[in-house]
Subunit: 333 residues, 2 copies
Amino acid sequence: MADDRPNPSGEDALIARYFRPLATDPGAFGLLDDAAAVDARGEDIVVTTDAVVEGVHYLEGDPPDTIARKALRVNLSDLAAKGATPAGFVLTLALSGAETSWLTEFARGLGEDVKLFGCPLLGGDTVSTPGPAMVSITAFGRAPKGTMVHRSGAAPGDRIMVTGAIGDATLGLDILKGGATAAAMAGDPAARDHLISRYRVPQPRNALALPVRDHASAAMDVSDGLAGDLAKLCAASGVSAVIDAPRIPISDAARAVLARGAAGIERLVSGGDDYELLCAVPEARVESFAEAARLAGVALTAIGRVIAGTGAPRFLGADGAEIALKRLSYSHF
Amino acid sequence: MADDRPNPSGEDALIARYFRPLATDPGAFGLLDDAAAVDARGEDIVVTTDAVVEGVHYLEGDPPDTIARKALRVNLSDLAAKGATPAGFVLTLALSGAETSWLTEFARGLGEDVKLFGCPLLGGDTVSTPGPAMVSITAFGRAPKGTMVHRSGAAPGDRIMVTGAIGDATLGLDILKGGATAAAMAGDPAARDHLISRYRVPQPRNALALPVRDHASAAMDVSDGLAGDLAKLCAASGVSAVIDAPRIPISDAARAVLARGAAGIERLVSGGDDYELLCAVPEARVESFAEAARLAGVALTAIGRVIAGTGAPRFLGADGAEIALKRLSYSHF
């Protein structure tokens, strides 16, 4: 990102107005240079990148501040799962135009999250596109050398634990698309708003990053559905798992949707956009991890156990029978 | 980027097939995890991000291997200008589909450049878009702490130097778009191909990164046109400059276009996509810098001088009169 005083182009004026205030790290050089410098302080720089596309990962009419927050938070969620503390990010913004009101709200939401998560803007690129808008973020975190938490590392006997609640976001999306959940929840605006908000603005669990590093044998964030992401973690670790489905944490709003028959548990565990943490935790570490989560104010629930084997994880219902999952996760392709 | 053995989605199969071979750095974890780790080795990590959009930065029918190369090279060019050596990159690929032939060629071109520039793939994200394709790359370089070269730092008396030749790419684009250059060069296929190739596949000057760090007081790459980018460098440094236009290095092909009247020098210095290095070099360093460029096999030309003042840089013709520039650079907005 660059300034161009003698001949301010649209891009440069845009950067100066909306994004320079977010570039609080000295390594961003006020967005006046062609690159940023991350001082690694002798640690590993953990790098993750995730993009959100209009009409695919968010809806055209979504409030711009929530689009900005989601774009940053899906990356922060990856850093949390890897046990890294946020160090900053670069932003690529592809827009078909640059409406002042949209950009103002986008930058406001982003700026608030920059402060909230201590993750300053380091640089970026704004490009014109004739197509749908796209926000691509590459985020950086720090972790002591070699301590990044991997998908691999889970061992038979480890407890499977998740943060927060599972399935809200996919129900929120269903409401926004006018699906069965919308009709079922028409009379309950509070639950409806809760589910929509969980789709639009994930709550990344960065407060748990250090405990994840200290206690988890493997971790990832749940972005494409609990079942599919657990299958990925198990595959990377060369293990399988059994999940006690009634133990999967579900919000009151999602429970109401289930009670009204608008969705089943399969939908909740295969829907995407949860952005909760999925961890394998050795038995001896479970109590310390749970205590750390309590101190951080993050809900943490044990939902099953890692077992030997290479089959897909099984989800067992209250009756002990396996729940059939038609698909494990959501794929945009 | 992630693997998903029990339930291979389109994205995961795509990553395994096309991109895992490019992820040669141990910090990429074979693209099997949610993040990569860059070992900073006690240095600064220099970060830059640039995106290319179909129909904006490259043309729909462009060969896929050249699209990949351009997307990586525009970032490598930034690293070179900042005096940083490549450490790796993350790739976000937004596609409306994933045609095997397109991806095969894209990955082949990218893989060749990964080897050529020693810049391995560390991770990425593939997303679906209903719009034009977009390739967004965030690249990382290493530089000893505090040695990144900035746009600021140029001082009155410094020589202005550029690598390679200026203006080829904008003429190549004009040919591809069927402009005046196409007609003028119809009888000279070699020159025509040279200009098109310079548009499609920039030659980043990474071989000069260390000499830039050792000798330049300020530097940036020329991506939006020499005149506009020089104005940016001068503004960041609080100086102005005088350029001796006849000294601006121009290829034989571009010279032929000028001779046939299809474009003027104004076009060459305000067109984009050169991806040459623009440096301010203190007089005492000029000879050492030139010698380093000779050793590296990179053409380097002194084209003017930094002067005190804050006005836009002036370009003087052979008669000493100022050349009027209607616009300094290209803006997509």
